[in-house]
Amino acid sequence: MIRLDNLTKVFDTPKGAVVAADHISMEVPRGEICVLLGPSGCGKTTTLKMINRIVRPTSGKVFINDEDTSGLNTQELRRNIGYVIQQIGLFPNMTIEENITAVPRLLGWDAKRYKERAREMMAMIAMEPDAFLKRYPSELSGGQQQRIGVARALAADPPVMLMDEPFGAIDPINRAVIQDEFLKMQQDLKKTIMFVSHDIDEAIKMGDRVAIFREGKLVQYSTPDDLLAAPKNAFVESFLGEDRALKRLNLVKVREVMSHEIGTVTPDDSLETALQRIDDYGYQNAIVMINDRQRPTGMITRAIARTTKGYCRDHFQGIPAAVHLDDDLRKVASLMFSNDMTWLPCVDDDERIMGQITQRAITHHLGSRHRVAEHSVADQNTGV
């Protein structure tokens, strides 16, 4: 846990005093990622760097796991905080192994233990230890270097990490990959992380919480979803952009919005039965056909059911797409648009049908500013 208490930094410049951070108070719960977000010069980096005293606070206090850090020796404090910077800052004179084990060696671990730790870290960041440990940073690509940068920060297993635009210098494709890898690692590691970014999409993706800064002040501090749903003022609103409702699509999983109730037919049902069910459920266009393993295999349209006689197995059409329970709504919306569908079946890991998701349900979810756990009854009327 990181708690900032009225943390303030005033820089003396030739033009007079500049307040870079103005009484910042906030708390990052244990195991969460908090993204500090804002335009350049807003004080987010200053705030981050006051935590490990790269910048000395003018006033205010920093607590880590409820311990007031002002009593700690600077070196000792820093060795217990993982630190990743945008310029990566690997030591070019040291091998990858020496870089990763820099903090453990400062802490006086014995050689056997830190060498083993280096191999563990390489496994964690999915790089081959034998191929890389003896090489030098200049021999690695930017993406590989920043993975090593993260490994170095994590090597001594600090409870807290500070990351200053860590993925900012990496090309967009590699950045997305590294972000995903990092989030996956974080699921196991559960570090308490402060993360500076100027990229709203990165903040939404990485942050459990997002803190918006402006001119040295903390403007809004909330979860990404709350932030996008209810920006506190015009500045936050404009900073998030006019497509902020669409950005929320990234944050919501299918399982939160889908309706579990879905009418289905089997291949052995007659088309009459199908039409009956379509009417019973109030579907407008079609009904899903599932096989004996509960997997959606096709759909029967209302037009065919009304005009034709016979069995479903002979008259079904393919389903253009199905979505997984853990897909985000952005993917769902994209599939709906590209396939001209207003609904999609939802499946689990075994591709068994679990329910359906409708356009109406999505717009309803995004429109409700205060999310209540409602899988609304209204959705079903408009479904299939």
Binding site: N52, I54, T74, Q75, E76, L77, R78, R79, N80, Y83, I85, Q87, I88, G89, L90, F91, P92, N93, M94, T95, A102, V103, L106, Y136, P137, S138, R152, A153, L162
Partner: protein, 243 residues
């Protein structure tokens, strides 16, 4: 390949020419003329190297710590102006430095070593300072951020990363040093200058060359020696010659 055979022919030609020069110099008695000075050369080379070794190691011993101190952040205000003073100092001709040190310290080895020391000091101090200042701020922030103390930062990050530039300074300085030692003869410190200047005075080119050629060879050898040490000592990751 035609180019390879061209090179081969050229090489063969050079060998033949060198061979005939050898034959000619042997038959004309030139080799014997030079060999006459061999005992002098042997004695003077040792003296020459001794002057270089003493003044050079003194200079390294003072200049590197000086460069380190000047590059500390607390010295930032004085450092730049002091470096300017050192730069101006470099422009003073070595002969003038020797003459000055002679007028204070008299004649002999001590003023010569002092003069050589001053001439060698400046390039090393300048490169040490520049090398340490050139270490990227991001690296320094990373080093501080992971909890290195200022001393650990200096020895584990700053010096290893500046070492290549520091060695370049030492190389230049010692090459200058070896080339300057002959002047030390003028204030009575010996060295190969004895053959060179006496040869000039007596209008004896053989004697002069007996001093000049070993001096040139020594300068090249010392330079190569320092280059080799740098190649081994500077860590591979920051050593352009090992990239």
């Amino acid at each position: 390949m035609p180019i390879q055979s061209m090179q081969g022919a050229l090489r063969a030609l050079i060998l033949v020419v060198v061979f005939f020069i050898g034959v000619w110099s042997q038959s004309s008695g030139l080799v014997d003329d030079f060999m006459f000075y061999l005992p002098d050369v042997q004695y003077l080379v040792v003296q020459h190297l001794w002057l270089t070794a003493v003044s050079g190691s003194l200079a390294i011993g003072v200049a590197v710590p000086l460069g380190i101190i000047l590059s500390r952040r607390s010295m930032a205000k004085v450092a730049e102006s002091l470096m300017q003073v050192l730069n101006v100092g470099t422009t003073i001709p070595t002969l003038a430095v020797l003459a000055l040190s002679m007028s204070f310290l008299g004649i002999g080895t001590v003023p010569a070593i002092f003069g050589l020391f001053v001439a060698t000091l400046l390039p090393i101090a300048r490169n040490t300072y520049a090398g340490l200042k050139g270490v990227s701020p991001a690296l320094m922030e990373a080093a501080a951020g992971i909890g290195m103390s200022p001393t650990q930062r200096l020895f584990r990050v700053e010096l290893p990363n500046a070492l290549y530039v520091i060695f370049a300074g030492i190389r230049t300085a010692l090459a200058i040093n070896v080339g300057t030692v002959p002047l030390a003869f003028l204030i009575g410190a010996g060295g190969l200058g004895e053959l060179i200047f006496t040869g000039i005075d007596l209008y004896d080119p053989i004697m002069m060359l007996s001093g000049a050629i070993p001096t040139a060879l020594l300068a090249i050898t010392v330079d190569a020696l320092i280059a080799t040490i740098a190649f081994i000592v500077v860590p591979r990751g920051v050593n352009p010659s090992r990239a």
